[in-house]
Subunit: 219 residues, 2 copies
């Protein structure tokens, strides 16, 4: 007589069931991200998400307890992973000004190469505190590092962090709406370096340095 | 026999009827602004607006053809009038850097003293193109004037305009959410002056100059 996995409600092995569960969850997150990128985070209903993922309406609550929970999951999947990659990229950089500039440049370039990601970030950033929860502390950390190193002159860290965040969202919106915006990543980084007190000529030099590639997510 | 105004459907004189119409319209605009400030521009239904204005649901379409039309009316009433007042205040200012700084300071101070206005601007700015249509050209004009006068060094006017707009919205949000933010207007203006290439010490001096009062709207 074959042994039966009593913990599983079906005859499918537990490992395979777990993988299927993860795949279904990922389909819901992906569908939510696409819809929210297209129409705004608040405008998307749960039934639309299950429908776009080609799943029954009842499926949703097997994976998420609320609308807010899937928004957080989308943000984790698409922004937290980007933040973590930027952290790895900048970990060994000696110049705090370059850390700040390279991170901002990669965020703009990502929106250019992956507009779905860009629109999601823009629409999330204005509607939900999650984005500033993920990116705000990183920006504040980079700004403080620059001040400590004598690279930045900032009258108020909170205001500078808010301005960096607001400028990023507005610039992503501009870049996503524009026909062509070659070099927008460098121009934006240069503008932000000036904002934090780097002299104009130096800001241009730092923003134009060769940009290291973003490390591939191996999580 | 008294003469009858055949153009009017009631016996109320046309002038008084016109005034009543304007008052009712103003009540709808005011109710819409309050609701949109509290909950976001997109989250407010037409029936809620008429309800908050203590009017019948059918009244709405006597005054506005669509939801978008009342959003534009609220924006005109609350932001266009502010923009026009800033234009009058800065018309005689000789220093382009002070024009930019004084305008930004008044926008922050207005949000501090009138949080309903501030929240409306924040929620409108992120949801609707109307705000950048009103403030964007003014910001771009002030930035160009600063470049022409040799006061500003800006690598890209479009990006600098977007960054000013995004920074303003994020700073208004910060100020509206903060417990106390004394001097936020000066700190924000100083941060923006640095962004457009004014050296740090000079930015501080310009942002701290006595602020002329905003001319009263006599329209």
């Amino acid at each position: 007589m074959p042994s039966v996995d009593s913990g599983s409600p079906s005859t499918v092995p537990a490992g395979r069931q777990q993988r299927r569960r993860e795949q279904t969850r990922a389909r819901l997150v992906e569908a939510a991200q696409r819809l929210m990128a297209e129409r705004g985070v608040e405008a998307v209903g749960l039934a639309e998400i299950t429908d776009a993922a080609d799943l029954g309406a009842g499926t949703f609550y097997n994976y998420f307890q609320s609308r807010d929970e899937i928004v957080e999951a989308v943000a984790e999947a698409s922004v937290e992973s980007m933040g973590a990659a930027l952290d790895r990229m900048t970990a060994g950089m000696p110049d705090a000004a370059e850390v700040f500039a390279a991170s901002l440049r990669h965020l703009v370039l990502r929106a250019v190469t992956d507009p779905l990601w860009g629109w999601f970030v823009v629409r999330l950033g204005v509607a939900h505190p999650k984005l500033i929860e993920i990116l705000g502390p990183r920006a504040a950390r980079d700004l403080r590092r620059g001040v400590d190193a004598g690279r930045f002159a900032i009258p108020d860290i909170d205001i500078a962090t808010s301005c960096t965040f607001g400028s990023l969202l507005a610039t992503l919106h501009l870049v996503l709406s524009a026909e062509t915006k070659d070099g927008a990543d460098r121009l934006f980084a240069q503008t932000m370096l000036c904002m934090v007190g780097v002299p104009a000529g130096e800001a241009q030099e730092v923003a134009s340095r060769p940009l290291p590639p973003l490390p591939v997510d191996d999580a």
